[in-house]
């Protein structure tokens, strides 16, 4: 109704309503106003509205309301209903999200007021709006901040009497409770009962009630008495009148870092217990020292505080350039550690194993130097003794413990070690003396002095060894002579053997050459046999060819005989014809005779015919004779050819035998060759053996020579020994017992020894050995 009045007032603009008009003007100044038709078209708009949405008045007049709305909402049935509702004359008011020019988001608190005409019918809508975008954004930011705090911090709210109002998830998880378990419970369930009972606790809450803030690291108890360290602030919250209404506490769980700090403290205490610690300023002035340090050096704290570090050092070191360099290095912030020799009260030597640790201030400059040290003086003494024992073990017996600076137990220990070394050195020196003499060839020397225990055993053993060595050398002197003689014999034998071996070698050589000749002969034989075999084969082939010729000749002969027979037959026929002709001619002659004179001519013809017949018969008979003759000759030839065939067959047999025999000869020759080869191998082997023999003989000969040389060398070596007396070997002495007295020593090598031996030992000690 009020709006209706306003609009109507605005419309009338009559003077009696000037008061209303002034109100409207005030509204217009303070609020953004816009007037729509019922269908949503902009009729009028004021400056405030234009500024809020970023448009000019001209741009908006005539535009539809949907220009300000998100297209999704415009398209929805809600939007339609919204205008229908306004059209019915109903008002609408709320916070709306609208779009300004360029899509800028604008939040407005607005009311849509329908305008009615005089008849009470709505004709337009007037909208009053306030831009609340900034307020809305500020609120959203605060909420986000609180949420962020809530996510990372433990937050709990108390009433002023300490009753829990609320606690967030972080707080509950830190202490292990659920919200129901703590809501409505007093603050003291989180605290040590001792503290709760104390005056401080009451004071703590009184302070909060006064509206004072409190912050720090607190020890609190979680569910089941679990210890929790929190870093927290208790913030009183005030109402509008400035009176505190509740307390909000923000807390972080620092249990782990707190425990680490405690642990470090414990560690430092432990170090203080066992180590000597002293603190210096970077220039070396003593700032502080702990009990251990003072005890180690024998000073009181007052005696050293404010003094310089050099009071603990040897003057030789502090005046050297190394000393300032050492402090310069520490001042640069570099660390130093090692074993140091320092001086205690009264110049007492103290060995420390120490580290100098520069400590930096917040700007990274060296504020002071903390030195951690351990007294290792005893260890150093033990090390000295160890070194001495190690040298003694390595045979350096001349060193002794320097006992001058020692006293008490250490002095006793050092003295006894020195005595022990002295006791060991005496027998060793005596042993050295004796062995050196023995090394020079004097086997008469003996170890002297009174020794006890193992040293006595050593003395006896060495003396016995030298005695035995002396005996051995004497024995060697005798043996070397015998060896010399034997080696001569061996050399002779070797020469003999060598000669024989050479002879054998030469006869083997002859044998080998004979065998070679024989091999050549056998090879010649074999090749001759092979040639013979070939010849026999070719002879056989020739004989076979001859045989063939013979059989062909026989065939030819047979053919000739056959032809001759046929010829004889033909001749027979001719003879028969001749006979018949003769007979006819005779008959003709008979007829002619009978014819008398008339037959005379005929008779002549008959006679001529008879003559011819007789001549042909005669010729035939002659031919027959010749044929018979040639037949006989042919038969003879055939016989001869047959004979020659037989002879050829015999020749073939003979040739075959020859070939066989030649083959056997060849095989035998090969066999011989093999045999000879074997013989040759055997001879070569023999030759090799002989040569090896010769080599062996040579070796043996040179060995014998070497042996002789060695025996001579041995004799010489034996001669270098100083002997008490040389007892000659009994064997060479036996054949000449009477002579023994006069020349006494047959060995020239041994001779010079005796006088020397006689001179030295007799003068020295062993006079009872002298027989001469």
């Amino acid at each position: 109704m009020a709006t209706k009045k306003k609009t109507s007032a605005k419309k009338s603009t009559s003077s009696p309503r000037r008061n209303d008009q002034a109100k409207l003007a005030a509204i217009d100044r303070a609020q953004a106003t816009i007037e729509f038709t019922l269908d949503g078209k902009v009729v009028d708009v004021n400056q405030n509205f234009c500024a809020a949405l970023g448009y000019t008045r001209e741009e908006l007049i005539g535009q539809h309301h949907r220009l300000f709305c998100a297209p999704e909402w415009v398209a929805s049935p809600d939007y339609q209903r919204f205008w229908e509702k306004l059209g019915r004359g109903e008002a609408d008011a709320a916070v709306y999200r609208r779009l300004g020019k360029g899509g800028k988001e604008v939040w407005i608190q607005a009311s849509y007021n329908p305008l009615f005409d005089s008849k009470g019918k709505p004709y337009g809508v007037l909208k009053f709006a306030t831009d609340i975008t900034a307020a809305r954004n500020a609120q959203a930011e605060t909420e986000a901040r609180l949420k962020a705090v809530d996510r990372v911090q433990a937050v709990i709210e108390f009433a002023l009497d300490g009753t829990v109002l609320h606690a967030n998830e972080n707080f509950l998880s830190v202490l292990g409770y659920t919200l129901d378990e703590v809501k409505g419970r007093p603050h003291r369930i989180f605290c040590d009962p001792e503290w709760v009972a104390s005056h401080e606790y009451r004071e703590f809450w009184a302070k909060l009630n006064r509206g004072e803030f409190d912050a720090g690291t607190y020890r609190r108890l979680g569910k089941g008495g679990k210890e929790v360290w929190i870093e927290a602030s208790y913030n009183p919250v005030f109402d509008a009148t400035g009176k505190p209404v509740k307390v909000v506490k923000f807390a972080s769980d620092v249990t782990r870092s707190r425990q680490a700090a405690l642990e470090n403290e414990a560690r430092m205490a432990a170090i203080h217990k066992v180590q000597a610690i002293i603190e210096f300023s970077p220039d070396g002035t003593v700032l502080d020292a702990n009990e251990n340090f003072l005890k180690t050096l024998g000073y009181g704290l007052d005696e050293i505080k404010g003094k310089h570090h050099r009071m603990f050092c040897e003057p030789g070191y502090t005046t050297s350039p190394e000393y300032p360099a050492f402090w310069a290095k520490l001042a640069r912030g570099e660390f130093d550690a090692g074993v140091y020799k320092r001086l205690g009260r009264g110049g007492r030597e103290v060995w420390i194993q120490a580290s100098y640790n520069p400590v930096f201030d917040s700007r990274g400059k060296v504020a002071k130097v903390i030195k951690l040290a351990t007294d290792i003086t005893d260890q150093m003494m033990v090390q000295n003794i160890e070194k001495l024992v190690a040298r003694a073990s390595a045979g350096e017996l001349q060193h002794r413990v320097d006992a001058t600076a020692l006293k008490g137990t250490a002095l006793a220990l050092a003295t006894s070690i020195n005595q022990l070394l002295d006791a060991v050195v005496a027998p060793i020196a005596e042993t050295q003396r004796v062995m050196k003499r023995v090394a020079q060839g004097d086997v008469t020397v003996r170890m002297e002095g009174e020794f006890a225990g193992e040293f006595r055993v050593l003395q006896d053993a060495i003396n016995q060894s030298v005695s035995q060595l002396e005996e051995t050398v004497v024995g060697m002197a005798q043996a070397s002579t015998a060896i010399a003689a034997a080696s001569r014999d061996i050399a002779d034998g070797n020469a003999n053997l060598s000669q024989r071996t050479q002879e054998q070698a030469s006869s083997l050589e002859e044998t080998a050459s004979s065998i070679e000749e024989m091999t050549a002969t056998v090879k010649q034989n074999a090749s001759n046999a092979t040639q013979g075999s070939q010849l026999a084969v070719s002879a056989r082939a020739s004989a076979e060819k001859g045989n063939e010729v013979v059989s062909r000749a026989i065939t030819a002969m047979t053919a000739i005989t056959e032809r001759s027979k046929r010829m004889a037959d033909i001749i027979g026929v001719i003879e028969q014809i001749a006979f018949q002709t003769n007979m006819l001619a005779l008959n003709a002659a008979v007829e002619a005779a009978r014819a008398g004179d008339q037959g005379r001519g005929f008779a002549v013809v008959a006679s001529e015919v008879r003559n011819l017949a007789q001549r042909s018969a005669t010729a035939a008979r002659e031919i027959q004779t010749l044929i018979k003759d040639s037949s006989e000759k042919v038969e003879q030839g055939a016989t001869l050819v047959n004979n020659s065939g037989e002879v050829l067959a015999e020749i073939m047999t003979g040739v075959k035998k020859v070939a066989d025999i030649v083959g056997e000869i060849s095989a035998a020759s090969e066999e011989q060759a093999r045999g000879i080869e074997q013989i040759n191998t055997a001879v070569m082997q023999m030759d090799k053996m002989t040569q090896q023999n010769a080599a062996l003989v040579e070796e043996s000969s040179s060995a014998a020579t070497a042996m002789r040389d060695q025996s001579e060398a041995m004799t010489k070596i034996v001669a270098t020994f100083k002997l008490g007396e040389v007892r000659e070997a009994p064997a060479p002495r036996a054949p000449a017992p009477p002579k023994s007295a006069a020349p006494a020593k047959p060995k020239p090598a041994a001779r010079p020894v005796v006088p020397a031996a006689a001179m030295k030992p007799s003068s020295a000690q062993d006079s009872e050995w002298e027989h001469f």
Partner: protein, 160 residues
């Protein structure tokens, strides 16, 4: 030839042949023909020298072996063996017979002076068989008396 013709009157033509390597001859006019040997048909009860008969162009002609008739040893007949068909003068008329000889020899004309009478050889009957002996060069030829040899033997010659 003319010479021969002149001497015709004083000569005789004979056919000579060989028996037992002797040469014999007969008057050529007595010879009818000369034939080769063919085995004749034997005649029972005939004399041993008669070998049988042959049919000579219709005439039965006896065949006699001259060797055996002359008393020589028998010999096998060979290729040269021939039969001489002779005409003999029988008591009444001519007869024809074949004589077997070893071989034919010749036809020769003997002058009369070369024909000598057969010497008297103790008047043996055999001498009658030879009419004479002719000399031709060195050799001698006995001329046979056919009638004496064979007598009545032989068939009568046909009228012709």
């Amino acid at each position: 030839m003319s010479e021969t013709t002149k001497q015709v009157e004083q000569s005789e033509q004979v056919l000579t042949f060989v028996v037992n390597e002797q040469e014999f001859g007969v008057d050529i006019l007595r010879v009818q023909e000369i034939r080769g040997w063919t085995a004749p048909t034997p005649i029972p009860q005939a004399p041993p020298f008669v070998k049988g008969v042959i049919n000579l162009r219709g005439d039965i002609v006896p065949i006699a072996d001259l060797r055996e008739r002359l008393g020589f040893a028998r010999q096998a007949y060979g290729p040269s063996t021939v039969v001489i068909v002779l005409r003999t003068q029988g008591a009444t008329r001519e007869r024809v017979l074949g004589v077997v000889v070893d071989a034919m020899s010749d036809v020769m004309t003997l002058p009369a002076k070369d024909i000598h009478p057969t010497p008297d050889l103790q008047a043996s009957s055999e001498t009658r068989h030879a009419r004479g002996i002719a000399t031709v060069g060195e050799k001698l030829i006995t001329l046979l008396n056919v009638e004496a040899l064979f007598g009545a033997l032989g068939s009568e010659a046909s009228a012709a």
